[in-house]
């Protein structure tokens, strides 16, 4: 009994000191260290970073399909604005941006700039850092700890293997937390695009 009480008191003291060691944290959560650690130690659920982005179909074509959640996307090289994302069939694409966490609708008018599309339906949330879930491609299964990148299927993730000869194929988006068979959704991963 004494042992348990001692452990409990020590645990409380350690937690208390940790709060004190990061003054201001409780007033300003999310700032600075939220990405990797708080309280001077590792955290169980690291903070996540999201960006509001604009979605356009690949190549700005007339494709009008909605992009489903958990799709891995790249920064759009046609728009060149840092707020527009699209899908890719390059594995692993160097322009990888992150994972869509809210279904993205296609634009009402193709060819608009981000400014022209402000307030329109094709805006969504892109996760760029932290624990997430992704759709795994239909060609390869993945193993926990494998690096993650885009695949040859739009919106689906695959194992990332760096290319020594093609600079457009070097986009490492993070790593897989789960081992998964091919063509599965909800596969846990850790994003490191920011």
């Amino acid at each position: 009994m004494k042992k348990i009480i001692s452990i409990f008191i020590v645990a409380l003291l350690v937690t208390g000191s940790a709060f004190a060691a990061t003054p201001g944290f409780r007033l300003s959560p999310g700032i600075g260290e939220n990405k990797t650690s708080v309280q001077g130690g590792q955290q169980s659920d690291p903070g996540k970073t999201f960006r509001m982005v604009r979605y356009v179909p690949a190549g700005g074509s007339g494709d009008s399909t909605t992009l489903v959640t958990e799709s891995i996307v790249i920064w759009d090289l046609v728009s060149d604005d840092g707020v527009t994302v699209t899908t890719t069939t390059t594995s692993p694409d160097s322009a990888v941006a992150g994972i869509i966490v809210q279904a993205a609708l296609s634009p009402e008018t193709l060819g608009n700039s981000a400014k022209e599309d402000r307030g329109k339906r094709n805006w969504t949330w892109l996760q760029t850092h932290g624990v997430s879930q992704v759709r795994v491609n239909a060609t390869n299964g993945v193993v926990a700890g494998n690096s993650m990148g885009t695949s040859a299927t739009a919106g689906e993730a695959d194992i990332f293997v760096a290319s020594a000869s093609d600079a457009t194929k070097n986009g490492n988006a993070g790593f897989f937390y789960d081992t998964s068979a091919k063509a599965l959704d909800d596969v846990e991963c850790f994003l490191m695009c920011e």
């Binding site: 959560p29 999310g30 955290q43 996540k48 970073t49 805006w123």
Partner: protein, 127 residues
């Protein structure tokens, strides 16, 4: 523990057992259960203490903004958005930082899909 103290403790235990009509085995069993409950409680408290501050998210929006307008949009949706982390109260949901061409919302706990929808509506509505 000294012999004297030990004797006194045994006597006290015996008294408690007699008072509650327990035999040795029942007393041992109850002590075991109490220990386990206490242990589980202690572990739960420790885990909650560690997990509570780990749920903050950062939401970056690539537009300029009028923080007070965003704040009132949140208020209409029933969420309290502070203009600084130092304004935090128990009802606060998060706070906004204006960075000129973009603004950042820091949440005090994990943002849910419903939160994302609400924020998107507020931001798109203010366009």
């Amino acid at each position: 523990m000294s012999e004297k103290k030990n004797k006194r403790l045994r006597k006290r235990v015996k008294d408690i057992m007699e008072k509650n009509g327990m035999n040795k085995n029942t007393f041992k069993f109850r002590m075991k259960v109490a220990k386990r409950v206490f242990k589980m409680g202690a572990i739960t408290v420790c885990l909650v203490c560690i997990a509570l501050p780990c749920l903050a998210d950062k939401l970056i929006v690539p537009f300029d903004c009028y923080p007070k307008e965003i704040q009132s949009g949140f208020a209409e949706a029933g969420m309290k958005l502070d203009l600084s982390g130092n304004d935090r109260t128990r009802e606060s949901w998060g706070f906004i930082v204006n960075e000129g061409s973009q603004f950042v919302i820091y949440t005090y706990k994990n943002a849910t899909p419903e939160d994302f929808k609400i924020i998107m509506d507020i931001i798109q509505g203010s366009a």
